[in-house]
């Protein structure tokens, strides 16, 4: 795998647009969609996420989140027990009473999500109906929505997709005299959201809405005057709901690094008829700062070989970023699911011939990884320490989801996430070897 580094793509190169993916079916070493509650509950104030599931679900979320730091987090699990399964208890009554007690204790909750899990899906518990029933019961104080974060249907970030799709389905219709609206879709850290909002305002795009909103009770309006811009690459279902309601997608590369952020902002600017001069004057300072922030990391990462295990669906845009902007060489880019339409801009900017894999057989992927012996492996928490012990350098992929990485002023932070493990290994030298 000695692909030459190519700093930019010429017009005729379609990159990985038509690249076939390697698909193997075996053990998936990935989180289920419930895990996205960990950041969604921090993002949407006054919302509570009630998983209807098993002890495993509760254990998963607390393990993934390390929730002991929160006094009383805005998520919990209604644990289905034997009595519910045996029909000794009416499962609807049980759920109603759990929700009643919860809302009594948490009067601050305005939006409640009933989140389906593997067990609730398998026993075909109708959470949609339950949500409607409970919504009626607790309106107008509390709105109750439902979605599934089950591992038999969703992988990790797809939980956010399902959640946002539920929010979009519950949106109001535009009025006839509605103004053009830019809808930015996908949870972003507050700091990033504020930066983007400032940039759009400076360009003269004022009617900007973010989905999810920071507050649970902000009404969401969607219709033909809505143009939506995906901030995250894993929102297939949400996009479908938006399109059904007449919204149109602004196709763009995802806002990672200097070039990704510029491409993303430019797509919105063009769609809202912002002049090239205006765009340049608003974005040039940020773009320059991003390049400066990445410089030192680029020196450390240039030419290094990187291997992505599938995790968050952010892998394709991340691969675009590390190859195009940091000069890293892509050994394999694994992703749980490849949404070609939403990722077309990023795919086109990947070096052609890159090995893309979709889905997973973790054992065989580990075999490939060991055989390639890359300089840096991006993988989940279950694999990181074992691979480090084998002598590989790893970056936990979950940190790429929890850390603010989008936008100009996070480009350097994003680069650091990749350079720091290598820096550490260099500093420790041969410490680990006897």
């Amino acid at each position: 795998m000695n692909l030459p580094f190519r700093p930019s793509q010429n017009g005729n190169d379609r990159g990985c647009t038509d690249q076939q993916t390697l698909k193997q079916r075996g053990q998936h070493e990935v989180f289920c969609g419930l895990t996205s509650i960990v950041w969604l509950h921090r993002k949407i104030e006054n919302a509570f996420f009630l998983v209807v599931g098993s002890r495993t679900c509760a254990h998963l979320i607390q393990s993934a989140a390390g929730v002991m730091i929160f006094a009383e987090p805005r998520f919990g699990t209604a644990i289905i027990d034997e009595r519910d399964l045996a029909g000794l208890a009416d499962i609807d009554d049980e759920l109603d009473s759990v929700v009643g007690r919860l809302l009594e204790r948490r009067p601050d909750i305005e939006l409640l999500f009933l989140v389906g899990s593997c067990p609730s899906e398998v026993i075909k518990l109708d959470l949609k109906r339950a949500a409607q029933r409970l919504s009626k019961l607790h309106t107008p104080k509390v709105r109750v929505l439902n979605y599934s974060g089950s591992g038999i249907e969703t992988t990790f970030t797809q939980g956010e997709d399902a959640c946002l799709a539920a929010l979009a389905s519950d949106a109001q219709k535009e009025t006839v005299d509605a103004a053009d609206q830019l809808l930015v879709v996908g949870a972003l850290a507050d700091v990033v959201e504020d930066q983007f909002r400032r940039l759009f305002t400076d360009m003269g795009i004022n009617n900007v809405t973010f989905l999810p909103a920071k507050k649970a009770n902000v009404p969401l309006v969607i219709g033909p005057k809505t143009k939506y811009l995906l901030a995250q690459p894993f929102l297939g279902d949400t996009a479908r709901v938006l399109e059904d309601r007449g919204a149109k997608r602004i196709a763009a590369a995802f806002p990672l690094g200097a070039e990704g952020t510029t491409a993303w902002l430019k797509a919105a600017a063009q769609s809202f008829a912002v002049s090239a001069e205006k765009f340049e004057s608003v974005t040039s300072a940020g773009h320059r700062r991003a390049l400066i922030a990445m410089e030192a990391h680029r020196d450390a990462l240039q030419g290094k070989r990187i291997f992505f295990f599938p995790d968050s669906q952010l892998e394709i845009p991340l691969a675009r970023y590390v190859s195009e902007e940091l000069g890293m060489r892509l050994v394999e880019v694994g992703t749980p699911y490849l949404h070609r339409a939403h990722l077309s801009e990023d795919l086109a900017r990947l070096p052609s011939g890159t090995l893309l894999s979709e889905g997973q057989d973790v054992e065989r992927q580990l075999d490939r990884c060991r055989a390639e012996d890359p300089d840096l492996v991006v993988c989940g928490l279950g694999l990181a320490n074992p691979l480090e012990a084998e002598g590989m350098t790893t970056k936990w992929s979950i940190e790429l989801v929890f850390t603010p990485i989008q936008g100009y002023d996070q480009a350097g932070d994003l680069a650091r996430l990749f350079s720091r493990p290598l820096d550490r290994r260099t500093r420790l030298g041969g410490l680990l070897c006897n």
Partner: protein, 513 residues
């Protein structure tokens, strides 16, 4: 259906993983959806294990449900056998797979693999992690331990150590400590299991004369089976604390037919002298609240009362399987045991008991942090901090040393902070400086919860005079809540409307008996 915000124990298949991961040469094939693979990170991150747990998940998806999930299981089991070549395999289902009723045991049997395959039935909607670990270990022992050995050939001075597992609270260090102790008594260790044992080691458990049960939560069912089927007696005393360690030495000495006295005379913990030294006088009657798994909580209660001279003001466990011994121990202390797996109940009980020290799990550590109380962690569920780089056992005489330090240091720090508070008007100090052991956030002026409880318990018709409030603040923060509560109760009972310095000291006299 039960609302759970946080849980002390995972599901039973995680217990099974703790056994499989502790052992070598054993592989666990788990019929489970992809999300269940999160459990790997418990071992690789919290325990910093350098190898993946030996677990293969079938990771079935919704689209497989209409098709053949049973076939998927068989393929996964066969592939796992071929790739890992284990000496034995355990197979089972997680909560979701339990619902689709594919019978992993039967399917694996149909593969006719040339190794023992042990089916596990772990009812996920009924049982929890520790039960799952105990059941798994019992099944493995039952299946693999040979019962045809010649019992007369057993060396009476040999034993097995049963119970240490992956993700255990200081199991790694306890094993080392107990091995040393047994060595000093001239007792040899035949097998330690499940930690680092192979299936072939389980097979030869019967070569030992008796079993040392370190963690009843995990090893008791297996040890009982071995008593019944192989005629091996088992220990009943868990050697945590000086007294328990001495009792344990006498118990194993008796089982092995050796003289315990040389070891009892020779080996000592520093705890008794440290506890007796005048420096420890201030520990007398400290109010301590204890919550954890049954083994560690019961041991802590004995140490607190008999070895440190504390007053135990609360005792409880999340291990429902051990509710009975816990209730007995609590009754002996004049308490009612708290048996719950809801941390909010624990928090409430702590508020009511107004302890000066909390001994608990990582969750109680957080509760203590919120209340501004000193705390030491004595039990699982484990945290990355519970796997210290240094040797840090809980068991044996060294374990008692570790316990003395771990419990007493937060209190000494508390005293130090009181001294700092006394000088807080000096220009070097300021009120918002964070206490050194309570994290980085500045401490709230007064623990919020304490005041709330106070107002709930005794509706305050009275107010505090400014100078009385000032006087109250001179009392160390870790007993201030109690002083406030007592004074307000006293005032309410005596119809005092304004609490003055006089009232404060009247109340103090009244409650000090």
């Amino acid at each position: 259906m039960q609302l759970t915000v946080w849980t002390y124990e995972g599901p039973p298949h995680v217990g099974a993983m703790r056994i499989a991961t502790a052992m070598k040469g054993l592989h666990y094939v788990l019929h489970a959806p992809q999300g269940d693979t999160y459990a790997d990170l418990l071992f690789t991150m919290i325990e910093r294990r350098s190898a993946r747990p030996p677990v293969t998940y079938t990771t079935f998806q919704a689209r497989d449900l209409g098709g053949d999930t049973a076939e998927l299981f068989k393929r996964s089991a066969f592939d796992a056998y071929e790739r890992f070549m284990p000496e034995a395999m355990i197979v089972g289902a997680s909560c979701t797979a339990e619902l689709i009723q594919d019978d992993p045991g039967g399917l694996a049997k149909a593969l006719a693999l040339p190794i023992p395959v042990i089916p596990l039935e772990l009812p996920s909607y009924q049982k929890k992690e520790n039960w799952g670990a105990a059941e798994t270990f019992y099944r493995i022992v039952r299946e693999l331990a040979r019962s045809d050995g010649d019992r007369t050939k057993r060396d009476p001075k040999s034993c097995n150590i049963l119970g240490p597992a992956a993700l255990g609270f200081r199991h790694r260090d306890d094993v080392l400590e107990i091995k040393r102790l047994l060595g000093a008594l001239g007792i040899s260790v035949n097998v330690v299991a499940p930690l680092d044992a192979r299936p072939s080691d389980i097979a030869r458990l019967g070569d030992a004369a008796f079993n040392v049960v370190l963690y009843p939560e995990i090893a008791e069912p297996a040890a009982r089976y071995l008593t019944k089927a192989l005629g091996q007696p088992m220990t009943t005393i868990v050697p945590i604390g000086v007294g328990a360690t001495r009792d344990f030495i006498r118990e194993v000495a008796e089982l092995a037919g050796v003289d315990p006295d040389p070891v009892l005379k020779d080996r000592m913990s520093r705890l008794p002298w440290y506890s007796a030294s005048v420096d420890s006088t201030y520990l007398t009657g400290k109010r301590v609240f204890i919550f954890g798994d049954a083994t560690h909580a019961l041991a802590a209660a004995r140490i607190a009362k008999q070895e440190l001279g504390f007053d135990v003001v609360g005792l409880g466990t999340f291990s429902r399987e051990f509710a009975r011994p816990m209730r007995e121990a609590a009754t002996a202390l004049g308490l009612e045991a708290l048996i719950t797996d809801d941390y909010l109940d624990v928090e409430k009980a702590i508020q009511e008991a107004q302890p000066e020290l909390i001994l608990g799990t990582q969750m109680e550590r957080h509760i203590a942090k919120r209340m501004g109380l000193p705390c030491a962690v004595i039990s699982a569920p484990v945290h990355v901090q519970d796997f210290p780089a240094r040797h840090s056992p809980q068991m044996g005489f060294e374990g008692a040393n570790v316990i003395f330090d771990t419990w007493v240091h937060p209190l000494m720090m508390g005293l130090e902070e009181h001294l700092l508070a006394m000088f807080r008007n000096d220009h070097e100090f300021h009120d918002s400086a964070a206490p050194s052991h309570l994290g980085h956030a500045p401490r709230a002026p007064e623990p919020e919860q304490v005041q709330q409880v106070v107002s709930e318990k005794a509706p305050v018709v009275t107010g505090w005079a400014v100078d009385a409030e000032k006087e109250l603040n001179k009392i160390p923060f870790f007993v201030r809540g109690k002083a406030r509560r007592n004074t307000e109760r006293f005032a309410a009972e005596h119809g005092v409307h304004l609490i003055t310095i006089e009232t404060l000291y009247d109340a103090k006299a009244h409650f000090s008996r």
